[in-house]
Symmetry: D2
Subunit: 304 residues, 4 copies
């Protein structure tokens, strides 16, 4: 068996002093203040063994990574009825999301582009009595950690500046692909994105996707087929306009967020999370991508 602690240590050592770390997202003050030098990795094997290095215990804003968790809850509640309201195909262009939505009559390309994640939020608002509480409860259960919380200041900032999301939501509404009021749906959507977790918690929460739908506490949340579907979407749509690049460089299903987090996994094998807040021009963590590329290269554990 490989010495995983040694592998992540060496990756951490190699990348922690890299000068060119990308740019910290600056569209809201709460994210822009983060020190670009933060860098943590947490690895969990399917067996349950854990390996950590660096700032793996520092919580960060998971942002778009929350879209995998909200999709999971909606999928559990609605099953395949979900796919009447969105597709599962890669979107191609991030720069003209509204054009795409208009051309395709209000059906988002997949649940990870913003318009798709807003439809997921709408489903949860319809299905849950107290969406914020119940979603948080779900994430805490997945991660087996009751300390995970939202950051209301981050949510409020995004709400105050998220004009494109409002535009997408109203466009969805015009195509009757939003059941609830735009304000209600986006309020919840921004809350979900504001979830704060550290690398270890994120890894624990995603254990279920490597383990056929069964979480660490042995509870089965999703069917094997549902897990396969979510992993397939992570693989083809998880990295904005860089999905093809990530599939090549890393070769794992995964999801990134503009907070600088990435989580990736090999079914039946492991889950790994990285956090480094500097982003490359396509909006993915620069050092995180390099760390994951190094990890799959060194361990030969990828889908290829």
């Amino acid at each position: 068996m490989q010495d995983f602690q040694q592998v992540i240590n060496s990756i951490h050592k190699q990348l922690k002093d890299e000068i060119n770390r990308g740019l910290v997202a600056n569209y809201i003050p709460e994210l822009s203040h983060i020190d670009v030098n933060n860098f943590g990795i947490h690895l969990k094997l399917i067996s349950g063994e854990n390996f950590s290095v660096g700032d793996s215990q520092v919580p960060f804003s998971i942002q778009s990574i929350s879209k995998v968790l909200s999709l999971s809850l909606a999928f559990q509640l609605q099953g395949n009825a979900l796919w009447k309201r969105m597709d599962v195909e890669p979107s191609g262009d991030p720069f003209n999301q509204l054009s795409l939505l208009e051309l395709e009559n209000g059906i988002p390309r997949n649940p990870f582009i913003n318009s798709g994640a807003i439809v997921i939020a709408d489903i949860l608002v319809s299905q849950l009595k107290n969406p914020k509480e119940e979603f948080l409860h779900f994430v805490r259960d997945l991660a087996n950690d009751q300390t995970i919380t939202y950051n209301p200041a981050v949510a409020a900032s995004e709400k105050a500046t998220g004009y494109t999301n409002y535009a997408a939501a109203y466009l969805l509404k015009s195509y009757q692909n939003l059941e609830n009021e735009v304000d209600k749906v986006l309020d919840f959507y921004f809350y979900m994105c504001s979830l704060e977790m550290n690398c270890e918690q994120l890894t624990n929460a995603f254990y279920i996707f490597a383990n056929h739908g069964v979480c660490q506490q042995n509870k089965t949340w999703l069917t094997t087929s549902q897990i396969k579907r979510i992993n397939a979407i992570m693989l083809t749509c998880g990295f904005y306009d860089e999905a093809g690049e990530f599939a090549f460089e890393v070769g794992l299903p995964g999801k990134s967020g503009v907070g600088g987090g990435i989580v990736a996994l090999l079914p039946n094998n492991f889950v790994i999370s990285t956090w480094s807040p500097g982003l490359n021009p396509r909006g993915n963590s620069k050092i995180g991508m390099q760390a994951l590329e190094a990890f799959t290269t060194k361990t030969k554990l990828s889908i290829f």
Copy 2:
């Protein structure tokens, strides 16, 4: 001199019993209840002489025709600074307005597509202390008629269902081409569209565009150059996706609204308004278009 009363009488007679009158706009209840058989014409010569026939005294919702009036007020207040925030070219496609706005980085194609008219509304909200009162005052002055009013029920209905306008406004906001809050701007925008006028009032209000910027009461509101600009925009952009067709059929600068009104004019010659609430598939009054085509054919008074 031609016998204009006889001309409009014969047009009215010929078209009033036409079976195929198009469809009344049905997206809000207030508009859908209008009797499709309403049909009025009012003509005013540059000399001041008036000719009326049919339902020319029945008020109707002027809808997009208000965009010419709001543009005029904003143009008067801002001059050519206006054109930093929008262009003056025809838009081509009505079906993908948001795509176009996204492709052109938040600069609307012209002031008569919805996104352009929303920017105009934003300018008026910034420039005026009491936008609704002052705009109404401006229109009443132009028409020399203090009885003209908004219809708050129509404004409220449009507000409740105008999701595409909200999407456009938030997209403009994301491109920093909207200074005020979306809700405030759209509230005003929907009010302007809800203006109710009859054919005579509309004709009187547009007299200024045939008379080099001087209204009936001899007040100069706009420069000759500004009037020429507005007439040029009416000519190339006044009829949604049917501008080319209207230029051919009628050959006059003009503007239509989904309430079934059309106003058109020949500079130095006349202004004419028609109202027939049934629309053709491209959203312009079916009988109104035919009436204006007949008018310019019979009188040989067009730009061609």
Copy 3:
């Protein structure tokens, strides 16, 4: 009556030494060698009176201006059947012509964008035995001048570099909106664009559009309705992405070409041609636009 010779003399004097004359089209050598200082004007009144100044007798490549002439011949041959294969509405964007064609299933927006003019060429290839000869004959007859010729070197150059036109033609073919072979159609299309005329010849050829379809030799080529249609298209689509601007600045139906020529007209009044080879960023003759704007301002002869 105005002293038209004095008017055009003063415009010529005012603009002939203007430093900033725009850029001569350089995509083919034959056009790029033209001296940017060429500048001519020719005016013909509906009465037949002529006024000339500057380089009005120097032939230049009429390029896209030929699209009005080819449309006229096709319209005469096919009547309104023509409009099954193209629309009459402004196109909005010049930069994504193929996108527009794809979105609209192979139906060009109007006969003056390249795809539309290629369909017109296809119609002429189908209808005429010897398209090149017969089209030249038609133009010579309109202009009453048998010395007008094609420039085969220009046609050959355009053919060798006209990849976008080939792309458009094949796309039309894929939508079954081209009857003949692409090579045959484009060969003819490039020939038409290579026509060389001077300002006087161009003015004479367009006399018919100001005179209800009757040319100088008193022959009726087109119906009044057909002429009105063509003038309407010139007004709304004649100046690439600057149609709205031209309608405002000049206020006349007209057509420009990248050779630096512009021809414009006021029905029942006059035809005027200008030539100055420097282009503004939107592809229209810079000095020519200014000359025409000055002409309509000084003479107050425009549609406004």
Copy 4:
């Protein structure tokens, strides 16, 4: 170890009498005559063991599957210089390929959409002395089978009707992303698509992608990194607008063609080819997709 022969036998038995087999491609006569009931499977393990069932020895037109082979040869010849001329990201929409190409300034989204494959053909035309011979030689070597041939009748048919490909090629040419003459490039492109192979030959030719770049005859054609890149592109872009669906249903890198063939592989494990000429609405073999889904479900051999 699993009894693979039994697995593919049972899949074949289950699907061979399925009534709803999709529609055979009918855009050229040569493809439309194929009997829809053809159905073959060939499986090769990394160890070299082979398993066959049904019409696995009947040659069919591999069509777009050739794009993987041409990419491989160009990649071998040019290395990463290739990626200056195209991207590696999923394309999203198949219906507006030219729009996408225009929006992205002539850089194809990936080497498997037609415009990308045409650029690959252009590279091979530039790099090879006798492109057709050398490409065939390369494929025969990969498959270790000197009987593989082109079908000139299929190539000629596609050439005669491939207008969209001509449009794409000329558009590429206008963006200077095509070095050679369009006719020369497309002639070669259509030849490559006309390659005929049976399931066994196809499986053999793709063995290299499961075996780190080393073919059956132990020759190393591509580096491990190049193989990983090609597999990543197959995974994210191999199934037209159904890449996400295939990743979910089957969970393997693969490529389909409109001739009804599909080849898929699990690195280090196996290669499998299926052929059933009926297509689903998105252009992939209907029964082939079902067979591969059944195979990965039964054997649990997929990336998930």
